[in-house]
Each structure stands twice: as structure tokens, then as C-alpha cells.
Amino acid sequence: MGKNKVYIYKSFERFWHWTQALLIFFLAFTGFEIHGSISFFGYLNAVRYHNIAAYAFIVLIIFAIFWHLSTGEWKQYLPTLEHIRSQIDYYLFGIFRNAPHPTKKTVLSKLNPLQKLVYLGLKILVIPIMVISGLLYMFYRYPQKGGGIAGLNIGSIEPIALIHTFGAFLLITFVIAHLYLITTGTTITSNLRAMITGYEELEETEGDENKSSENSDEVKSPEKKQNIEVETVLVEKEII
């Protein structure tokens, strides 16, 4: 049972991930200044910066959608009920016993079933809601006065603002849980390192029983740097 350094997160994916992280953090920060919870940039600046970051976020999302579609990576997020139980059991019990991860991370399936569900929810629910409510917030006009987009004549901003605010709370909740859960990889930092460098040590074989990986000490053994180039080429072939 060997471990291999595998090129799992492509450079665009990492760029997208970190930019998105930065933007969401920045949007949340400026957003909650607009919300009246904190004050830091000054109100007008907070609004200005929130708007700029929002546009940047939308551009990034468009690129990301294109990337997901063209690489087929979108399939990673197809939800599955298989192993959901065991994944939950793992987080609730197994993890404390140092039990093995119930699903194996591979290049073709880098997300566990819970991640698939949650990330899919973010992609098709929370983020679209944030973008749409945010754009409405930006472009709504009072019913009677023209300007802006004539069709967007909204009597009161309140429902939009409340949805946008609740979405912001959800995203912050996600970030907290996310930050914690990335420490539950093979080592505390292996997931983080993977998202920074792109490489992660993964089990060589797939569909294995994985009994032997209970010996967590193995992780500490010197890295077997073998044929990374070859591996990468293989991986890329698989994706294409």
C-alpha cells in the first residue's frame, strides 16, 4: 500500500479557490460594515469596495463555470447518497478512533459525499442567491422613477436585504466549518497544502479495503518522491 504525490488541484482551480476565499472574506467584511455590525473602512468606502469585490466575484464565477464545464470537473459535484451514512458516522465517531476515511480521495473523486452535497448547495443555492440578491440590491430602483433597469421596479429593498444578509451568515458559517474540516485530512495540514501546491499524497490504489492505513505513523515516513511527472501526465489523461 504505497502513497503517491498526486497533482490533484490544477492551477486554475487553486487560483479560483483562493481568489474566491479572499473575495468572500472581503465581501463579508465590507458587507457587515454596510449592515452596521462593524465599522472599519467608513460607510461609503465599504459600499464602494463591496461593489468592486462583487463585480470581481461575478467575473470569477463566470470563469469558474466555464472551467468546470470545459474540464468536466462539474461531475465532481454530482450528489450521491452512497456512503453518506458512513461519512457522517466517520465524523461523529470514526475520526476519534483514527478510523480510516470511509471514502477515498482520488483525482477523479476528490470530494466525499458530504462535501459534494454541501459544495453543490453553495454553488447552486447560496452563491446564486447572494449574486442575484446582491445585483438586485445594486440595481433596484424605486418604482416610480426611471433609471437603472426599468424592469427592476421594486417597492421595498427589505426582503432582498434580508435574504442577502441571511446568505452572508450562511457563508460565514460555511467558512468556519470548512476551515475546521480541512484539518481532518491525513494530517492537519495536508488538505491545506494540497490546495496551495496542488499536490497531495493519496493512496495508490482505488477501491481498496484500506485496512492498513490505520497505521497513521506511516504518514511520517519519508515521502516517496517517485515519478511525479509521469503521475501528472497520467492524471491529465484520465481527465481528458
Binding site: S39, L44, A56, F93, R141, F169, A177, Y180, T197
Partner: protein, 531 residues
């Protein structure tokens, strides 16, 4: 690794550039630059009135001056006699009332209440000669006082209690030879002193505006554009734009900021969008009564106290009356933050004889209409003058007491200090029944604040309204405003899930650390590490 640094640099650059691009320090709207070019150029008069023979013959009465004026400026007298400055009333349409003539004859205020029976002294601010309570011809053009508005020498003054005639010391020939367009000093002698003293009524119109600094008013500042009243209150055929909603009711003939500055004067879109719902004045007049105090409250119910049988007065440190036996108690304020209301340009008024339906809450002497959902409404700054004034609890109407008289015994409150008697006489003068009973009721009068516009750096900042606490707009609760408003449900739910998650992370993490330590301590005993 190199790539990451590059990407970070790129992101940094983008942020830096966008912030740089959005900095607006030196922005000046074109409209404003044009105005600054136009206004400092002072007009010179095209005629010299001192050359005219008709103005050189000796004037014995002010009416002779008026005749001389009209001999050249024919038809102007007719314009004047159609104006509210002359008639002291104008025709207004008020929803629910129809077309009514509103003016000093039938309107009431919550300062000195009304002019009825007090014309002799009030006429000091009428543009006519000879107005007393019994005699005045509104059709005799000789009684027009041209000079009070057109004197450019600042020497023309009306006499005290002379029914509108000039003070005998005035040199009518000198004044009539030096006439021109009205200046701040002409308008100011009346409009700065409404309510019987400097700045008493408006709060934003006072003697400091004769020669203001930029801090007091950017437009009228002597060292700035030095605008005169009529530069904004554009006038044609003696019809002057702009009016006060203490008496006006209709959304027309208004003098607006937009007439010079356009509707979208800001560089920042988000600020221009505010102008849909927020009047310019709301942000650009952060405080009023900047130099001298204005009256904010007047309690008539304490009037009439005497010391040794004599009326007396009490003043505050600034010399403002806080108590007068003839008028009651006052409150004053300086550097006041306005209150804010929705206003669509139409108003209703309490008119003499109107029955007060609800005597438990303050009566609005003038009601400025508007609300968030009304498309024509904007948020405007107002001074609200609050009073406690006499009313008839049986007929439920405000009382117009007789206040002024030359001597005791005519029922005038300022002579006899007898509410019942002065109410009876006053109500008889305005031909309204009086039950013989009097009481006092709280009233509010709304004075839009339009002057004393501040320099740009003193403009109301976003977070003075957009804030949880002390929002200037705290009283306007009929709409959602970011930062001020939130839903306690969303807030509780949102903070709730965050706290739950943090708690979950904490418990989970603690157990993880704990169990892995145990495992390490006894690597061979896997059973111990279960939960």
C-alpha cells in the same frame, strides 16, 4: 510557489488600481464649475436713477415716491397687487378642502398665533402703507411700498407701529435715487425677523445671513458667490419662486437646488441615487441656527404671571427671553440638527375655526404630506416648533386671542393679562363663537430648513443615518435602511448558526485532540480511544 506570488501580486494590483480609480477627491461637477464662473460677475445697473427729474423733486409722503415709480414703471403696480406680498394671502388647492384662500387672515401659527387685531404692528412687514385693523385699501396702488424692497442704500426703515409707513428719519429722495434689485438686506429685514425677533421662526434665516461667512452659508458667503435671495428665488413680473409651507399648500412655484445643480450633481452613482428619495438639504444642511439661537418651544400657558402687579421677563445667558409675562415660556436652540420628515410638496393647514378631532395628541398647525411609498416624497430637514397654546375645549377650536392694544381695558392680553376676556374679544374679531371656556393644547409647526447650506466637507456623512444608534433618520420607520435596520429573526438565526457551528467545532476538536493524545499514550490499546 512562484505562480502564487504572481497571482497575489496581480490581485493586489487590481485592488490598488480600482481603489485609486475610485478616489474622488478632486471631482467637481461641471454644473458647479459653470456656476462658480457665472456668479462672481456682478451686474451693473443700466440706468442711474439719480439722473431722473421725477425723483429729484422733494417728496413729502412715501405715497408720492410710489407715484413717481409707477409713472415710469407702468403696470408694475398691478403685478404687485396680485402678489402674496401685497395680499397676504394666496389661492391654494388643498386635497379635501378644495380651493381656499390662505393667508394671514385665516391661518394660525403657534408663535404669536395670528395677526388679526394686531395689524398696526404687524404692518411693519407689509409692503404697503397705512395698514391698520380697520382701514386698508388693497386696491390703491399708491399704498405700495416700492422702496422697502428696492432700496439699495440700506437706509430705508419702516417705523414702529406706524402701520407700515417709513420712519420719519428716512430721506426719501436719497433712497429713491439709489434703487435697484432687492438684496439680502431688503428681504432680510422682514424674513430674518419673523416671530418678532432675529431667527425666532425659521432657524435658517437670520441676520447672520446679511454678511455670512462660508461656514454659515456657502451660497450667500460674502467671500464666496455672495448670492442674493433672488438669485435662487427667481422672480419674473414680481412673482417670486419659492415659498414657505407655513402658508403654502401646493407643489408649484418652488425654488429648488436642482434649478442650478441638476438632479445628478454627484460623481458617485450611489449618491445620485439618493436624490430619488432624499432632498439635497437633508445632507447638505447638517445644522441650522448656526450663529444665533432659534425658538424651539413656546408655552403660552405660563403667560400672565406678574411681579408686584407688573409684567416681567427672564433671559438666558445669551440674552434670549426664556420667560415673558405677555407671552409665556420659551426654549431656544443653536447649532441644531434638523428633524427629518417625508415631504411631497403639498401641505394642509389648520385654518381658523377648524374643529380639532383628536385633542389628545399634538395638533399639527401645518401638515406636510408625504411617506416613503409616495412617489413624489423626499426626506427633508425641518425645524419643528412645538407650542402649548390656548384652545376652546367646548367648540374644540384654537383660540385667536386679542393680544395687542395701546391701552388697558380693550381686552388685549398684553395689557390686561386676562385669557378669558382676550379670547372673547379675539374670537369676536375673527367672527367665531367662543364658549367662554379656555384650555391649552400642544401644537407643532413644521418649518422646512433650506438655507445655511454647508461647505462640502461638513456634509452629513453616510453613517450619520446609516447606523444602528443615533441615526438622524431614526424617526422615519416606514422603510428599510441598510445599517440602521435589520430583522431580529435573521439576526438571531444567523448568529445562532454561527455560534452553533463554533460550538460544534470546539467540541469536536477538543475530543479529537483528547482522543489522539490517549491513542498516542497507549498505542496498543485501540479500545480506549472510542467515544
Amino acid at each position: 510557489m512562484k505562480k502564487i506570488v504572481l497571482v497575489l501580486l496581480l490581485i493586489g494590483l487590481i485592488i490598488f488600481l480600482s481603489v485609486k480609480l475610485l478616489t474622488t477627491e478632486n471631482y467637481k461637477p461641471t454644473a458647479l464649475s459653470l456656476l462658480e464662473e457665472k456668479y462672481p460677475k456682478k451686474e451693473t445697473s443700466s440706468v442711474d436713477h439719480s439722473q431722473f427729474a421725477v425723483l429729484q423733486k422733494k417728496f413729502n409722503t412715501p405715497q408720492e415716491v410710489t407715484e413717481a415709480c409707477i409713472s415710469c414703471h407702468t403696470e408694475r403696480d398691478k403685478e404687485i397687487m396680485r402678489s402674496s406680498h401685497w395680499n397676504w394671502e394666496r389661492e391654494e388647492y388643498i386635497a379635501g378642502r378644495g380651493i381656499v384662500d390662505i393667508g394671514k387672515r385665516n391661518a394660525v401659527n403657534n408663535f404669536c398665533i395670528g395677526v388679526e387685531g394686531n395689524e398696526q404692528s404687524c404692518a411693519k412687514c407689509h409692503i404697503g402703507f397705512g395698514m391698520t385693523s380697520t382701514t386698508f385699501s388693497f386696491t390703491d396702488s399708491k399704498n405700495i411700498d416700492c422702496l422697502v424692497c428696492h432700496d439699495n442704500t440700506e437706509t430705508y426703515v419702516k417705523g414702529n407701529e406706524l402701520a407700515g409707513l417709513p420712519d420719519p428719519s428716512v430721506d426719501l429722495n436719497y433712497v429713491s435715487q439709489h434703487v435697484g434689485k432687492p438684496k439680502r438686506s431688503n428681504c432680510g429685514v422682514c424674513h430674518f425677523f419673523g416671530g418678532g425677533g432675529n431667527n425666532v421662526k425659521h432657524g435658517d434665516l437670520e441676520s447672520a445671513l446679511f454678511e455670512p461667512s462660508k461656514d454659515v452659508d456657502v451660497h450667500m458667503a460674502v467671500e464666496g458667490a455672495d448670492l442674493q435671495c433672488i438669485d435662487c428665488h427667481l422672480t419674473e413680473k414680481h412673482k417670486i419662486l419659492g415659498k414657505m409651507y407655513s402658508l403654502s399648500s401646493m407643489n408649484k412655484d418652488r425654488s429648488t437646488c436642482e434649478e442650478c445643480h441638476t438632479e445628478n450633481p454627484h460623481k458617485e452613482d450611489i449618491l445620485n441615487e439618493h436624490t430619488y428619495k432624499v432632498a439635497c438639504q437633508a445632507c447638505h444642511i447638517p445644522v441650522y441656527a448656526k450663529v444665533n439661537a432659534t425658538k424651539t418651544a413656546w408655552d403660552w400657558s405660563t403667560a400672565g404671571k406678574l411681579k408686584n402687579g407688573q409684567p416681567y421677563e427672564e433671559d438666558d445667558a445669551d440674552g434670549n427671553h426664556t420667560y415673558l409675562s405677555i407671552k409665556g415660556s420659551f426654549k431656544w436652540g443653536k447649532n441644531l440638527k434638523p428633524e427629518y420628515i417625508w415631504f411631497n410638496g403639498t401641505a394642509d393647514h389648520y385654518l381658523l375655526g377648524d374643529v380639532i378631532n383628536d385633542t389628545t395628541k399634538p395638533l399639527k398647525i401645518n401638515t406636510l404630506n408625504g411617506s416613503y411609498s409616495d412617489k413624489d416624497s423626499k426626506i427633508i430637514p425641518v425645524k419643528i416648533h412645538r407650542a402649548i397654546q390656548p384652545f376652546d375645549p367646548v367648540y374644540k377650536v384654537l383660540i385667536q386671542p386679542k393680544l395687542f392694544a395701546d391701552k388697558k381695558g380693550e381686552g388685549a392680553f398684553w395689557q390686561d393679562f386676562d385669557w378669558r376676556r382676550s379670547s372673547a374679544v379675539g374670537m369676536k374679531d375673527v367672527k367665531l363663537p367662543f364658549s367662554g371656556k379656555f384650555s391649552f393644547i400642544k401644537t407643532e409647526m413644521y418649518w422646512p430648513v433650506n438655507h445655511m447650506v454647508s461647505t462640502k466637507d461638513k456634509t452629513v456623512q453616510c453613517n450619520e443615518c446609516h447606523s444602528r444608534n443615533n441615526s438622524r433618520l431614526a424617526a422615519l420607520t416606514d422603510f428599510y435602511m441598510p445599517a440602521r435596520d435589520y430583522s431580529s429573526f435573521v439576526e438571531t438565526a444567523g448568529i445562532g448558526i454561527i455560534l452553533l457551528t463554533l460550538f460544534g467545532v470546539f467540541v469536536h476538536g477538543t475530543v479529537r485532540v483528547f482522543s489522539s493524545r490517549k491513542r498516542k499514550a497507549s498505542p496498543n490499546n485501540q479500545n480506549l480511544s472510542g467515544v
